[in-house]
């Protein structure tokens, strides 16, 4: 398909981008175009102006900031999955980025774009939610738990731009795994599970679990997280993971009905937790 007509502003600074957004209430930010371009081409979105922030180098790159890692919004998925700081400090982020779409998309699509798009089927929102990331925008800082408001809707204002994400370092003793279930390598997750697990004496001491595509926003599997505290690797973990779909409201679509997604959430959570705990 062919997009409808729009104006185009290539911002040379964040201020210019913010002004352009404020000047046109139907303006949209574009960075890598991973999610917006398909919407434009299918004429599912009709922005009157595209504000291109893709050439602002200050928004790109990963920085080790002591107690947390800062990921610039324009860092591509490919850069995220290969970054040595993330590999050492927040490997779950790299694991999630490595499953996004295909290599071509991962070289264009941006980390911040995937989060700002707030698609619950995207892999990164659940990862960032599980890690208690903090979204840094042109105006404020928003904890991930408050950032994802509804389907394709974030807490940001129309003229607010995501500049990066702060991810607290969890420190020693943690293991990580992102378990994505999809039908083809390029497809969205039917269900995905991001797990961070701290292990102690053959049991799970602490777990954080983010769920992809189990509702209109990414979700934490809170009941399972609570039940996992102190759970022995084995039947206790299995039973804890049977609560993974509690409080979720997964969609029914061509790729899976809600009951199937609930079932998958339980199985995949168990697998993700065990893998993160190094049990498999």
């Amino acid at each position: 398909m062919i997009p409808a007509q729009f104006d185009y502003v290539r911002a040379s600074s964040l201020e210019e981008a913010t002004q352009a957004l404020a000047a046109d209430e139907d303006a949209k930010v574009i960075a890598g175009g991973q999610s917006l371009l398909p919407l434009l081409r299918l004429r599912l979105a009709y922005p009157s102006t595209l504000v291109d922030i893709g050439r602002l180098p200050e928004l790109r790159g990963v920085q080790d900031r002591g107690d947390h890692v800062f990921i610039g919004a324009l860092t591509t998925h490919d850069e995220v999955m290969r970054d040595p700081v993330l590999a050492a400090e927040c490997p779950l982020v790299a694991m999630g980025a490595a499953t996004v779409a295909d290599p071509a998309v991962r070289h264009r699509g941006t980390f911040g774009g995937s989060l700002a798009h707030a698609d619950p089927a995207g892999d990164l929102p659940a990862v960032i939610l599980a890690l208690d990331g903090v979204m840094v925008t042109t105006r404020r800082e928003i904890p991930a738990a408050e950032f994802f408001v509804d389907y394709l809707e974030s807490a940001m204002e129309p003229d607010e731009i995501l500049t990066g994400v702060r991810i607290p370092k969890l420190g020693e003793g943690w293991g990580y795994h992102y378990e994505k279930f999809h039908r083809t390598a390029q497809a969205w997750a039917i269900v995905g599970v991001a797990a961070a697990v701290r292990r102690s004496d053959g049991a799970v001491a602490e777990a954080r679990i983010g769920l992809t595509n189990m509702g209109p926003t990414p979700l934490r599997a809170s009941a399972t997280e609570a039940a996992l505290a102190g759970a022995e690797l084995g039947d206790a973990v299995r039973q804890a993971c049977e609560q993974a779909a509690e409080g979720t409201s997964p969609p029914s679509d061509l790729h899976g009905q809600a009951d199937y997604r609930r079932h998958l959430a339980q199985v995949l959570t168990r697998r993700a937790v065990l893998a993160a705990a190094g049990a498999h």
Binding site: M1, L42, T184, Q186, A187
Partner: protein, 801 residues
Amino acid sequence: MTEELDAGMVAQRIAESDQVSEPSPNGEVGRRRRRKEDARLLTGRTQWTDNIQLPGMLYVQFLRSPMAHARITRVDVSAARELPGVVAAFSGQDLASEQGSLPCAWPVTEDIAIPEHPPMAVSEVRYVGEAVACVVATDRYRAADALEAIEVDYEPLPPVLDMNDALAEGAPKVHETGNKAYTWKFAQGDMEAALRDAPVRIDRTYIQQRLIPSAMEPRAVVATTDGETFTMWSATQIPHILRVMLALTTGIPEHKLRVIAPDVGGGFGSKLQVTAEEVVCLLLTKRLGKPVKWTESRSEGNLTVHHGRDQIQHITIAAESDGRIRGVRVELLVDMGAYLMLVTPGIPLLGAFMYNGIYKMDAYDFTCTGVFTTKMPTDAYRGAGRPEATYAIERAMDELAAELNMDPVEVRRRNWIKHEEFPYTTIAGLTYDSGNYEAATDKALALFGYDKLRAEQADRRDRRDPVQLGIGVSTYTEMCGLAPSRVLGSLSYGAGGWEHGSVRVLPTGKVEVVTGSSAHGQGHETAWSQLVADALGVPFEDVSVLHGDTAISHRGMDTYGSRSLVVGGMAVLSACEKVKEKARKIAAHTLECSPEDVEFSQGVFRVKGTGAQKTIQELALAAFAAHDLPEGMEPRLDADATLDPENFSFPHGTHLCAVEVDTETGHVKIRSYVAVDDVGRVVNPLIVEGQVHGGIAQGIAQALYEEAVYDAEGNLLTSTMADYLLPSAADLPDFVTDRTETPATSNPLGVKGVGEAGTIASTPAVVNAIVDALRPHGVHDIQMPCTPERIWRALRERAQA
């Protein structure tokens, strides 16, 4: 007749069929030549239809019906006409007097209902995506914007989506004549007797889901006129057939119309069509006197490229208790969609003679009914009728094996035509000229490690491993090399199955080959060069191959049905023989001997017993100079040949697939895949392997991934590649491919055709493997595509039962 047709040599080759032949030391046939085409294709130095720019070009976009079935009560294009850049806008009504009806060339029965099919709907729409109006503008974007200014009023009519419902009494009608297009029958032997007291009877129903052919290059059309003559570039498989059909449809005289298929990026049957867009673009250039271009978007293509498959298959096998088949009965419902397009009704007939597969039996009964629904019409898609047939019989053979608690390979062995029984006339009336099912199967079993995998399967079953192993077998054959014209005539097809080739040796000794078979990704330029290089003894690099333009290649039947090498390549070889005979006469004249005393080898004509000789290049120059030619000989070293094949060819093979099925999630992973195909003699192993790999991938895609889904209102839900899943290399295992070589006896080279074999064979291999993994859980079928959710539900239902 060439020396290779000698019966003794054919027999010898069959005897050697386990051996794959090597090329002769200087020979081209059999060499792994990289494709001549690829450098220009990969570097973008070529012309796809959409790349073509003409002065003053205008751009066309179509407004398409959002309703599956509705009366059109009003179309108002006036607001669109006023928009900037818009040159013209037309409704179907505006073109009604000149647009005619899209052709159906295969009226399979006397009483078939062939409804009018206007390129743009005039009074009624019958599927979502049917064109109702068009805009012509100075660029593509303005044309697309202007579509939103067109007003159309629809009066909804009930959609007709399910074939069984469509045939029920009182069902809403797609066309006034009703929802049945035709019923076609074939019977041989006494099926009632075969069924009577049969010790074993297998009755199964399989659904061939609707598929969307997804060629890499979307459809595109450019049409232009100088006021008198018309030229069309189209991303088509069939420039020659298209020219004839456009002349018949639009009334533009055939000799005033040139059709060009430039480089075409795949078709898989979807570009074997005369489309609404082609007809309308021709009418638009005629009306406006300017060149026009239309290129579809991918989602437009998902809606309106003809779809494939979509059959409900009932198959019954009557068998003895030792597994030998008495007879097979097949009843099909075939979804035609809303209209009959070029060969829509004939597709199931291409499978009608294949449900007996490679097996011997005494009775066969086939009935198919074409049904109209309010969906995109179906038509040819890779394999066209034969994948459906192979799926049904190969799935049912596994069911027969399971019923008898017999190994699925063994039940096939007991039924297949033995090597020494060829040529063999099957129950469906075809004569399979050659084959060696034993050799292909033995080789496949060895490569696969069949016994070891069976042992692992038993172990996983014993351990109740959540990941179960399944093994699937598919021993297929197919009829290809379409086709003997008399057979097509007997099936009421509207044309013949011959092919044309011409060979001209230029004054410098270089060779131009013109083929009527229009390549769209197969590598004709490379393979034909190899054929001609060997036949005339000239270097591979000295041959160029021209095709795809009716002004250059004036006669042809184009490319589909794995016919190019078997029919088109053999026509080129036949022309080479004529060139050689002519050159021999010139050589004899020049060397002052009789033509019988001249022998030919590797491009050189020698007088037997002397050192006197002339090269073909010297003779080409002599023919050009024409100073001293034999009495009455025309001064050119050229020849034409039009060849009508004497029989179909029958590639066969054995495909084995091992899958791991995760019983917790339903996920299927293909663990290993072995294909041993017998496609006769191979001209270029690299091209053959490419065809086999792509074919297997496409067949796996039907088994696991692809399905065109319409909702209850008749909207296509799978209009983008996010919802219509195509596998990529990342989703597929490394295929192990190998060959046996049992030459066809129906052509001098012994070639059979390979374009569709992989697709035909692989789908049942995969599904048989999945079902094999699940049988201990009480699951005996999974409907395609075998999605993880379907597998999980099947397991859950059995567990709850």
